[in-house]
Amino acid sequence: MSALASLTRETTTAAGGRPPAKRRKRHLASYLLLGLIALVFLVPAYWMVLAAIKPNDEIYQWPFTPWPSEPTTENFSAALAAAPFDQFFMNSLLVTTVGATVKVALAALTAYAFAFLPFPGKKWLFLGVLGALMVPGHVTLLLNYSTISNLGLINTYAGIILPGLGSAFGTFLLRQHFMGLPKEVLEAAELDGAGHLRKLWSFVLPMSKPAVITVALIAVIDEWNDFIWPLLVTNTLDMRTMPIGLMFLKQSEGLDDWGMIMAATLMIVLPMLLLFLFAQKYIINGMAGAAVRR
């Protein structure tokens, strides 16, 4: 923030020598551009919401009307009638909660082990974790399908969740953070006779709250939005997650009921949108910060 402010100040001092009219023109230009960018992102969102609450005949009525004569929920009931979106929602909720929780727990335990416990060849094991960051998910699909199928887990919740549980990114991020913690606190905890689990739970995790929240939020978002794996590993309607359900709806109903499809889309988008609204600081800083700090 301070750097941002400083750069602004820098432009104003630089522009100080120029006639104020020119400066005002530049300000106007940047406001116009900001407005334009906002439109680029808002208009498609508006287009979705509008169709979701418009009576069906108005969607297909031309000339186009920018506001529904009477907002309606009929598209949502139509989507629920055409496909079990309540079931999809529960599936997504379950897979996301269980998957993200276990993933974060495993990442925290592994990060703690790598940061504070000895093990022969630990350095190589950690390189192994880092190496997994370089394995593109798409090339693991065939073999993971065959593994999950050999385990008899096709079309089960365990089958959807299991391959995503291993956490290389979370382990890496948390370990970096754990190693930066003040040693005195941990030493004091040790002197008090705290075991390692207690040290992790009562000292290390609370002191690493932002990092843990970031890892958890990214896990939740990934899990909720995951597409290709749940598509491959489930094969009955009652096991599908929200995004797959949306594709099913599009395939089975065709593209001639936009109101219904946009209502279903809104149901998928809303939970993550709310999450983003409340936790944007952690999500943006986490996702972009991890990128810059490396």
């Binding site: 941002l4 100040r9 551009l33 093990f119 370089m134 798409h138 073999l143 290709i228 594709m247």
Partner: protein
């Protein structure tokens, strides 16, 4: 490195020797058994995760290599070894050459446009005009939204009969193109959506990098009489190089694996015009059940992305602590 190191070295350190004189025999034995307990604890804490990583990230790489040398169809109990046939078949198939050419177009267009749009937005956001925070958050939002949902919205936007596209094209007296059903338009349509979804993330990363440039560096340049363009091209852009490099690599990796947009909007069509390598692997593996061919294509994708990552690691300075 922390508590452990001091603990392990304490009995041997000269200064602490006097403190331990009461039990000279127990002192060397105790850390030994304690260490074993710690090894066990390490295993309990880390091995579940490490096992998952081994099974679901490393085994697939090896397994792909093996499967790519067979003609397995997912049904027959044992795959036949056929050597490099899958690879020679791929590289002599003009269809696959087309897939690769299309993949390259897709990756270059998506990554290039995302970086240009992202940097442009970041420079604007860095100006700090009122409302910047809200707009930058807005631009970031598609990054956290399901690709399937984004694809559905854009399918509707692109609908030539009832979509936003008709409205806009009618306004300038034209008919909307058939974005997703015209083989000449479909890839461009997908590129637009991918850039819309990803540019906000690029912008935020660039913005963070811009804000970390020390203010006096830019002031010094300005004192020397450098104008806006010169300050950018001679000072800011070179300082952004590591960020640009990092973004290039992560965006390339992402674009190669793009799937949900394609699956939802075009299913690789029309007439194969949006079949990129990622869709091709899916099609070969899970629709045609040519497992060997899908595995060979997966190995090919893995090698390409490995090279891309290796190039990044070679040139980007690494700040990871390894021990």
């Amino acid at each position: 490195m922390t508590v452990l190191e001091t603990e392990r070295t304490a009995p041997t350190a000269g200064a602490t020797k006097d403190l331990h004189t009461e039990s000279p025999i127990a002192a060397p034995a105790e850390p030994q058994s304690r260490n074993h307990r710690k090894y066990l604890l390490f295993a309990l804490f880390a091995f579940p995760n490490l096992l998952l990583i081994a099974v679901f990230a490393y085994w697939p790489i090896l397994g792909n290599l093996l499967l790519s040398l067979t003609d397995w169809d997912m049904i027959s109990p044992f795959p036949n070894f056929i050597g490099l046939e899958n690879y020679t078949a791929l590289f002599t198939d003009p269809g696959f050459v087309d897939v690769m050419r299309r993949t390259l177009t897709w990756v270059v267009a998506v990554v290039g446009a995302s970086l240009v749009c992202g940097l442009g937005m970041a420079l604007l956001f860095n100006g700090g005009a009122r409302g910047t925070k809200a707009v930058s958050t807005l631009a970031f939002t598609p990054h956290v939204i399901s690709g399937a949902a984004v694809a559905a919205v854009w399918l509707f936007v692109f609908d030539p009969n009832y979509g936003l596209s008709r409205l806009l094209f009618n306004a300038i007296g034209m008919d909307s193109p058939h974005w997703t059903t015209d083989p000449d338009m479909a890839l461009s349509a997908l590129i637009i959506v991918a850039v819309w979804k990803g540019a906000g993330f690029v912008a935020i990363v660039y913005l963070a990098a811009l804000q970390s440039i020390p203010r006096d560096v830019i002031e010094a340049a300005q004192l020397d009489g450098a104008g806006r363009w010169k300050t950018f091209s001679k000072i800011v852009w070179p300082l952004l190089t590591p960020t640009t490099f990092f973004l290039c690599v992560t965006q390339i990796i992402g674009a190669f694996q793009a799937f949900d947009l394609i699956a939802m909007m075009t299913s690789g069509g029309p007439a194969g015009s949006t079949t990129t390598l990622s869709w091709y692997i899916y099609e070969q593996g899970f629709q045609e059940f040519n497992i060997g061919s899908a595995a060979a294509s997966s190995v090919f994708m893995f090698i390409i992305l490995l090279v891309v990552t290796a190039v990044q690691m070679r040139f980007a300075e690494r700040k990871v602590h390894y021990s």
